[in-house]
Symmetry: C2
Subunit: 255 residues, 2 copies
């Protein structure tokens, strides 16, 4: 039997959809759907097949590269059109809410994989090899072959876990980073006097400061594990304002 | 007239005193004073002249490489012994308190320079060139020649400013970094799911986590500008828990 490369439709040709298309182009037959005429012409210019309507989605795999805020709308749109055996994959930055929506809104004859690539156009300029991707299987078993492809062919570090565990960990990794980036904007001008450690913090926060507002909303308010962590950080920072007994004792001993 | 390299006494042979000695060894005649027998033998082993008592401090320059918590004690100890024209330099991480102590406790015939090298043994393994040093002239003019040496010979970026402006800027650069490092320790285990930005934050915080407790105390509680900044950060993080009107409006528009 001859190997037939899989066919993939990418719904949403924004920054991340374009990255997915570029990475998969040499491994699959990629077609693109996006409502925006600008995205349409960009996809055509890059040589991808552009489909005019979600009615034409007949590919093996459907990748939903849309903001979590648009996910339910897209799922309701494509659900009646999907064929048995098709695999639907999302790439949202949170996983509990998208996994629940896909389980509820997609027909039972469709396989479902929730995924979160832990990289973006800005962080993989030298290729995706070595970057992480988190997979949360929701329905079906074909995700296993996809995981092998991601690991062996693309060189990604594949982490398989539950949507809840993803969101619990991402609350710190992403939620806290985005909250700190916002909070630092309220602190005024950056000092001229610098240290290597502070430079690294500014570099880290700058990486997320220009993310789309939908990403900020998703990884902070869209993740139920972020607010308890924010409260923990507030408590910890508040407690650092009080002079601990050990410090008072040390001061007394120093006099 | 033959060039005579300056003579320098380094008081305090801890981690930073050793770095100062190593950097200056080829440019000056360096002697070392430290109360600890361990430091004494370490200095001898490295080939530095070790002096047995602060009574023997007759060098052109005296560098005080001691924690800010010990500074007044050392100043009271050496003040009666200093000769006219000697230059006393501290290297504490804060500048308002040390500058005030040196102005008050050192005799008027001694020149005084408050300084803060923005690097440490961990951050200059490839040499100090390119690193920053902040100079706050307190008394006298010989610091100008020293500044030229630091810039031209050692390749340091020299920033001349007031103790107050140093501490105001360092409150963010150092104070906030140390507070965040402490606060993060209260947040539990580090997630396996990672991003480049969060990795950079962890790397930055790890750089200061192992600093001596005296450094933490100095750059946080010892700097009067840190607490207002901590309060600003608390307010900013607290306000991020409330759903802003714009987000509510965007959600409504998305339905």
């Amino acid at each position: 039997m001859l190997y037939r490369p899989p066919s993939i439709t990418i719904i949403g040709f924004g920054a991340f959809g374009r990255l997915v298309a570029a990475v998969l182009a040499s491994h699959a037959r990629v077609s693109v759907y996006d409502q925006s005429p600008d995205a349409w012409s960009a996809a055509s210019a890059l040589g991808f097949e552009v489909i005019a309507s979600t009615k034409e989605i007949s590919t093996d795999i459907v990748v939903l590269a849309v903001p979590v805020q648009s996910l339910s709308e897209v799922l309701l749109d494509i659900a009646p059109l999907l064929r048995p055996g098709q695999v639907v994959v999302d790439v949202c930055s949170i996983k509990e809410e998208p996994a629940r929506m896909m389980r509820q809104l997609l027909p039972p004859h469709v396989e479902v994989l929730a995924s979160h690539p832990m990289f973006g156009p800005g962080s993989v300029k030298n290729g995706v090899a070595g970057a992480q991707i988190v997979l949360c299987p929701v329905r079906g078993t074909r995700w296993r072959a996809f995981a092998v492809f991601l690991r062996r062919t693309l060189g990604l570090e594949v982490i398989v876990t539950t949507p809840e565990e993803h969101d619990r960990q991402a609350a710190m990794t992403q939620g806290l980073t985005h909250l700190l980036a916002r909070a630092f904007q309220a602190l005024g001008e950056r000092p001229r006097i610098r240290t290597r450690s502070f430079d690294l913090i500014l570099e880290a926060l700058a990486m997320v400061t220009n993310d789309a507002p939908e990403i900020y909303e998703a990884v902070t308010r869209g993740n139920r594990h972020v607010d308890p962590l924010r409260q923990d950080l507030l408590r910890a920072l508040a407690s650092l304002g009080k002079a601990p007994e050990s410090a008072a004792a040390a001061d007394a001993a120093g006099q």
